[in-house]
Amino acid sequence: MKNIKKTKKPNQFFRNINAKIASIPMILTVLIVFLGGSIWTIVYSFTSSRLLPKWKFVGFDQYERLWETRRWIISIENLAIYGIFSLIFTLVIGFTLAALLDRKIRFENTFRSILLYPFALSFIVTGLTWQWILNPDFGLQGVVRDWGWKSFSFDPLNDPETVMFGLLISGLWQGTGLIMVILLAGLRGIDEDIWRAARVDGIGTVKTYIYIIIPMMRPVFITALVLIAAGIIKIYDLVVAQTDGGPGIASEVPAKYVMDYMFGAQNLGQGFAASTMMLVSVIVILIPWAYLEFGGKKHA
């Protein structure tokens, strides 16, 4: 068999040559930018690069320094707080909204348009808008005080303890619409007969959702989960626009740490080490997902 193939097609390379030409941009992107770029950064994270990349290896020094830096620790803690709450609230709110829209209501399109429009906006626009709404003097706090509740206090952006929740408010405002749409598509894929059967058995609507529908929507939820998680790790613009990491360093996040050390503090090695840590965390999320998604299918 092998021999026949060899004599039949002497030049494998020129077979399907147009498709290969058409794929050159993809191949270059994958090899040079995605693989090459990532490996380059990982390798240089073990060097003492500062202003410019330097080919001088220092082992895990950059990583040791990274985990000794208070700002990095705070960034990680902030990401964890933001991430956990964002994950829970996005899923709960997104699913509740999707379920409400799925109740065969009128004006579904209008409601969906309203709930999704923030997603079309830039994080910069979202961040700046909420910065203004949460302005302690003229924003929400000021308005409520004007109404006569003089002791009312709601100033999350200027309190290190609550600043991440100020960011969470705007992050949720922008992001829940997307998850709602994805979960709604999942709900639409559920067979109408399931609902009929549940009704015949006398199971209430809420119970049907919790015990029957949600377990059936597992793949959709996993997709939503991966999307939310990928978004959380990337969070950068929103922080830059809304708080710029303040007050002090109370709302710093890892992506901003990388950017500031690479381009602001001219400490490339730290930036490389921090971005490698970000990659590692993404891989930790991606591998189980890829396994569930693709590994499971092969066995089935």
């Binding site: 794929s23 191949i27 770029g37 969906r112 709404i133 003229f138 690479m262």
Partner: protein
């Protein structure tokens, strides 16, 4: 369900009363949440139409007593970033100059690529595609600096062309996925018939597939216009102040520490930046949803 039933035999659940308890809960919740979602837009518009004295006295939710378009004019033509005081208009035109070539380049590259992956598979094509899709999840931060070096080497660092290249690269995973799935769903008979008629790789693409794929191109355009217009990270790294896109300039205008804060000008500037994606969103409607669904659901 109630609308679509024209049968004489009653089918499905009994029509509910319009003001049943569950309806009140559903509509009530949706209306309250909708108001909450619309509030920031309302605040932006109202603030941008007020004068500064009114902002200092009044509340952010109230409509302006006296409508003024001064903040909009100032935001567009006179707002300052650093030493430049020609407003957001420069950022707007920079964004347009970035957007149009990025749009053309990224969509043509990705559509041809998706077509090759769907209909002309070759050895290794699936491996590259898998890595490409994983690339969409890799944090950009890890690839940023190598790209700086690359762009510096080819002399495009700080230029619009460099940023166009970056957008083409990072738009590739999602767009390729979109086109690949679309072309893979086209019946193979059509493809075979064209081959029998003697059409080759490019012939089938241009004469057969392209004319019947207009909607998916519209979806790709919507996806890319909003994505590129809203980008901040790449703009701030790969361009310089003279070529900053609108989002970067907006952030610099609003978050600059010098001078008295002019909240009305800031909100007008914010709205101006949000206007392009919002217009796309409200005009495109269902296609926008299709675009993000295609982006969200894996291949």
């Amino acid at each position: 369900m109630l609308k679509s039933n024209n049968n004489l035999i009653p089918n499905g659940p009994k029509p509910k009363k319009a003001f049943s308890r569950s309806n009140i809960i559903i509509y009530g919740t949706l209306i309250v949440i909708s108001i909450y979602y619309l509030l920031p837009l309302w605040v932006m518009v109202m603030t941008s139409l007020k004068g500064m004295p009114e902002i200092r006295m009044g509340n952010i939710f109230s409509p302006p007593l006296e409508i003024t378009f001064e903040p909009w004019i100032k935001a567009w033509a006179h707002a300052c970033t650093g030493i430049n005081c020609d407003g957001l208009s420069r950022g707007f035109w920079n964004s347009v100059k970035i957007l149009i070539p990025s749009l053309i380049l990224s969509i043509s590259v990705a559509s041809v690529n998706g077509y090759a992956l769907a209909n002309w598979k070759f050895r290794g094509s699936e491996v590259f595609f898998t890595i490409l899709i994983f690339g969409a999840f890799i944090p950009y931060q890890i690839m940023i600096y190598p790209i700086v070096i690359l762009l510096r080497e080819i002399g495009l660092m700080g230029s619009t062309a460099g940023l166009v290249l970056v957008h083409t690269i990072f738009g590739m995973p999602i767009l390729t996925l979109l086109f690949r799935n679309h072309f893979a769903a086209i019946p193979e008979e059509l493809f075979k018939a064209a081959r029998v008629d003697g059409a080759g790789f490019w012939g089938i693409y241009f004469k057969v597939l392209l004319p019947m794929s207009v909607p998916i191109f519209v979806v790709a355009i919507i996806l890319q216009v909003t994505g590129i217009w809203n980008d901040f990270l790449f703009g701030v790294i790969y361009t310089k102040p003279a070529t900053y896109p609108m989002t970067v300039q907006l952030n610099n205008i609003v978050n600059s520490v010098q001078g008295v804060k002019e909240y009305n000008v800031n909100m007008a500037a914010t709205l101006l930046t949000g206007l392009v994606p919002l217009a796309i969103y409200f005009v495109s409607g269902k296609l926008f949803v299709r675009g993000i669904a295609a982006g969200a659901v894996k291949g």
